[in-house]
């Protein structure tokens, strides 16, 4: 998969992946008022990354999406969600909806739900980065038998 696919596929992928990514973010951010949510949005966003890896090949794709970047965002998203829980101590305890203490807004409006938007956002980042990183790592194992003398793992 060094060269990727044909130019037609590449151009289409370049065009479509942007739309897919925006749709994923939209699904995540409106999770509290319509079907969807951070997890579905994150998987959609990851699907955009998967499309790029498939169309352009791993080498090219790694210039846009690096594995260590995925690790970092993955950890940051998870930690962010945990922080939402810990910030609940400000309002009384673990996982208390600390933004909702001064009113939760009207159900059905975008600015409602307190921490739910925040949680959805963090889950979006976490799931998207995690799945994209995992796909990159899996894509590295395309050939069953690696040639000898491949670089060893760094510790």
């Amino acid at each position: 998969m060094t060269s990727g696919m044909t130019p037609i596929v590449k151009n289409t992928a370049r065009l479509v992946s942007g739309f897919i990514a925006i749709f994923g973010i939209y699904v995540a951010l409106t999770g509290h008022i319509s079907p969807g949510g951070g997890f579905a949005g994150g998987v959609i966003l990851a699907a955009a990354a998967v499309l790029i890896v498939l169309a352009f090949g791993r080498q090219t794709a790694e210039k846009m999406i690096t594995e260590s970047g995925c690790h970092l965002y993955d950890a940051a998203g998870a930690a962010g969600f945990l922080l939402v829980a810990v910030f609940g101590y400000l309002a009384g305890g673990f996982f208390v909806n600390f933004l909702a203490r001064h009113g939760v807004g009207t159900a059905g409006r975008f600015w409602s739900g307190g921490t739910i938007i925040l949680s959805n956002l963090f889950i979006l980042v976490k799931v998207a980065a995690g799945l994209a990183g995992a796909f990159l790592a899996l894509a590295a194992f395309r050939r069953a038998h690696m040639p000898d003398g491949h670089p060893g793992e760094e510790s």
Binding site: P35, G37, F81, N120, M146
Partner: protein, 201 residues
Amino acid sequence: MGIEYLILLLLVFMLFALLIAVEARDLLSSVISVGAGGFALSVIFLLLGAPDLALTQVVVEVVALVLLIRLVVTRHDTTAETPRDALRTGVVLLAGGVLLVGVFVAVGGTGAAGTVPRLGEPVMATADLAAGQTTPGQPVAARYLARAGEETGAANAVMAVLLDYRAYDTLGEATVIFVSILGAYAVLRRIGRRGRKEATI
């Protein structure tokens, strides 16, 4: 009633697709059939009033299918040679018979006490929302539906449950995906122990 027949039809389709997936000799057709079953499942979710699940099931199915198809098409060993293990098949059939009888008794379809309620009449429907301090053990779900809008501000009751009432579960959910991706990385290290050559047969 119409919807239930549709669900039944889709379920039959799904069962056939999954049977093909299990029995097909060719691994690629097996993987694609399981995808067909998964998409049928997402339509069933939609019919059962669960659009969140339908959306999630579709996108998860796509990603899982990409992973599986890639796994199969880039390898040379593409057919399942040995069909099945007779002893284990027998055990499964026996266990399956017992399970189905158990389900038949437990569901019953009569709605009697101590059995699973009839389809379409969830236990939530028996809730008495006005019940105060005196009648304990009211199903929680009706209360979620009735008050989620004002208490959490989320119009989508599923998200209200997932990210507010039961957000601790969702922390677990986020952690599951984190763990399994870390696990995949751990398994994919080419060399596990230092000073040992990669051994392939």
